[in-house]
Amino acid sequence: MHNVTDTSPNTSIDSTVLDNEPSIRIRDLDFLYGENQVLHNVDLDIFPKEIMAFIGPSGCGKSTLLRCLNRMNDLVDGARIGNGTIEIQGIDLHDKSVDVIELRKKVGMVFQKSNPFPKSIYQNVAYGLQIQGIKSKRVIDEKVEESLRKSALWDEVKDRLNENAYGLSGGQQQRLCIARTLAVEPEIILMDEPCSALDPVATGRVEELILGLKEEYTIVVVTHNMQQAGRISDRTAFFYLGKLIECDQTKKIFLNPNKQQTEDYISGKFG
């Protein structure tokens, strides 16, 4: 077993993000579903405006960690943090002063299976604004257009905003979900295997979109697809059996990983 502190991520930060304070700081995190511990002692920093990819075999806890970042795990019965802290912009997420509603506005999430609401395209994007109580049609219209443009969907759907979102293709649906997330102006976007249900062409478009969003947002992507991690991420974290094995520049992870386990996984010896 490796000691995670050996691979302190701070030692290998890209120069572009070095001067920044980490946006997300995870320290000594233990996470349990009931009695079943799924994360062990995870330490990880994620920096502003970088794309961080979580890779690892199924059940390694990467999705769980992602869902911890906007406390979606609150929904799961018996899910709890055993030990350690998650801080976003220096604030402990599990502090009593943190309103989970406000947190989720700042930390948006895109799910594995595209899950637009069975409403019109427009209503899907406007949803986050409407539940915040924004009534002005002008503001919402602007925001909807802006979000759809950012998610590269505007040209495809501008003529059928009032049609049901389920009339869109899978890739479009997933981009719509991203647009929906962008509309509430998050700072961090969590993506849980966003392309796992998409064909290669749609995947390509979504990846393109993610790369474009890097300019403005901190993005954490969980992926099974190592090529995808390689294509889009700045840094990659490899998880195995609930432990963070290694986190480093993506290039380094793929070309010259420090740990044997990482190399074995990357080269397809297991997983």
Binding site: M72, L75, F117, Q130, V184
Partner: protein
């Protein structure tokens, strides 16, 4: 042996085995049972539809609208066999009235009788003219003397009248030519006086209004005495010729005003009769009674009595006539109210169970309770409603009590169905909503409930429609066997609406099937009601399907 040979040749030739027999037997059983169920269902529907159709498609029109729009009534059956006419109470009496009126009209046109009020008025005027002309033929003194001689022996008041006239003529020094007018005025005035002084004469003399006294069964001793008393008074007040009339027709004369069983008929008839009576009284006061032949009066009385006694013999069957309109309305009201209450309570409960409740002992206990509630017999719900709503909360037998009882009865169905519908909504909608910063309630409101609604509504409406067919829960709490007012009639305050009992189809079927003597006519009523009820339930069910399909189309995923 070719058979044997074939067996050798064909390895797939059929072999009789235990398994094969079993297979055939079981297949036959499955099919037989299914066909049996099908047969029973077909028989049930055929029975209700064919027998119900008797009532629904009875009569001249395509549909027997009366059955759908009338109150339940007694059925009067006139005649036998092919001649048989079935009439509800209201139609029966309408027919009777029509017959009376027709006879009256016929009678009124008979010789010697004025046919209508204006004719009467005209005759009055004629009479006055006649009187005036007659009086002009005499000088003052001659006229009065002649009249006194003529009439004083016959009408006691007549002589008083003439004395009065004499006295007035003297007092006021009236010129001879003014006398006739005065006389006529005095006579009228005197007559009015007589009217008030002798009300008996006024009312008893009314032979025209007489209904056969013999029609009144066993008059009480008091009535008899009163009749005798009035009769005697009557005899004293009227002239001999009238006495003769009373002797002839006495036992057929109703003697006090109240004793008249007023004939059913148009209101005009009453007014007409009254005018006629007034007219006849005046006429007798004015005319020389001897010139009016008693026989002609007799001629009038007899046809009148004949005209008045319309006989329309019928066999009567309670509850078998008319329609079921109040029951249809009552059932619809019960269904709507119970549905509203059940859906509100049920959906709230289901939301708690499905979205908020943390799995644990408490939740299992609630679920167990709900499951048990579903198994409680409907009569127990009836008793529960009776005890809680009718007695304890003092709502009486009322719509409100029925609503709540029915609602509680379907609550288990509604809760279970709603919970299932809520759980069938993809978790992704919830997560998507929460990840956009929605609170739990907003999440439920915007991205769970709207999509679960089709399922909730369909199962709930179906459940309530089913419960609407139950008799037991409403028989103690909401249903009346018969109520002549519709729910919106005769309300003093709008809240009274909720505290009134109603008629209901299932209870009506129960009443006409179990509470009244059975015969072919009641059976028509039972099946007719069942027919309508069946279609009502089918209607509600299809409505719910329609609603679901519409909503589904709106929210597809």
């Amino acid at each position: 042996m070719s058979d044997h040979k074939n067996k050798e040749v064909n390895p797939f030739s059929p072999k009789l085995s235990r398994e094969k027999v079993q297979e055939n037997l079981m297949f036959g059983l499955f099919r037989g049972m299914t066909y049996f169920v099908l047969f029973c269902a077909a028989f049930l529907f055929w029975d209700i539809l064919s027998k119900g159709a008797n009532k629904i498609f009875e009569g001249d029109g395509l549909i027997n609208w009366e059955f759908l729009t009338e109150h339940p009534q007694t059925l009067h059956v006139i005649g036998e066999g092919d001649e048989e006419i079935k009439l509800s109470s209201s139609n029966y009496y309408k027919l009777k009235d029509e017959k009376i009126l027709a006879k009256w009209n016929l009678f009124a046109k008979s010789p010697g009788f004025t046919s209508n009020l204006s004719d009467l008025d005209n005759e009055m005027i004629e009479l006055q003219k006649e009187w005036t002309e007659k009086s002009l033929q005499f000088t003052n003194a001659e006229f009065l003397k002649k009249e006194r001689d003529n009439i004083s022996n016959k009408f006691a008041f007549w002589s008083d009248l003439l004395t009065d006239i004499n006295a007035s003529a003297r007092d006021f020094e009236v010129e001879p030519q003014e006398i006739p007018g005065l006389v006529s005025e005095f006579i009228l005035g005197h007559f009015e006086k007589e009217r008030s002084r002798l009300p008996l004469v006024e009312t008893k003399i009314i032979l025209f209004r007489a209904q056969q006294y013999s029609n009144i069964e066993e008059p009480s001793l008091n009535t008899l005495k009163e009749i005798e008393k009035a009769y005697n008074a009557f005899l004293m007040k009227i002239p001999e010729t009238y006495n003769q009339a009373i002797k002839d027709f006495g036992n057929e004369v109703s003697l006090t005003y109240e004793d008249f069983t007023l004939l059913r008929g148009p209101k005009e008839f009453g007014r007409f009769a009254e005018a006629l009576v007034a007219y006849e009284t005046i006429r007798r006061a004015f005319l020389d009674i001897e010139t009016k032949n008693w026989n002609s009066i007799k001629e009038l009385i007899i046809p009148f009595k004949q005209a008045m006694s319309v006989s329309l013999p019928s066999r009567d069957y309670a509850y078998s006539g008319g329609g079921i309109f109040p029951a249809i309305i009552g059932t619809l009201l019960l269904v709507l109210g119970a549905m509203t209450i059940a859906i509100i309570l049920g959906v709230f409960c289901a939301i708690f169970l499905a979205e908020y409740g943390k799995p644990g002992k408490f939740l299992s206990l609630i679920r167990l309770a709900i499951l048990n509630l579903a198994g409680v017999p409907s009569i127990i719900y009836g008793l529960f409603g009776f005890g809680l709503f009718v007695i304890f909360l003092d709502w009486n037998v009322s719509l409100l009590a029925g609503w709540f009882t029915l609602a509680f009865m379907v609550l288990p169905i509604v809760i279970t169905a709603s919970e299932e519908s809520l759980r069938s909504i993809p978790q992704g909608f919830r997560e998507g909503s929460l990840a956009l910063g929605a609170t739990k309630w907003i999440m439920i409101k915007t991205s769970v409930l709207p999509f679960a609604m089709p399922g909730i509504l369909t199962s709930s409406i179906l459940g309530v429609a089913r419960a609407a067919g139950e008799t037991a829960p409403i028989m103690f709490t909401a249903a009346y066997a018969k109520r002549s007012e519709l729910p919106w009639e005769g309300l003093e305050h709008w809240t009274d609406f909720f505290f009134q009992g109603v008629m209901a189809l299932p209870y009506h079927i129960y009443v006409v099937s179990a509470k009244i003597p059975q015969n072919e006519y009641t059976s028509d009523m039972q099946y007719g009601t069942a027919f309508v009820f069946l279609f009502l339930v089918i209607g509600v069910a299809s409505l719910s399907m329609l609603l679901r399909n519409r909503l589904r189309k709106k929210y597809r995923w």
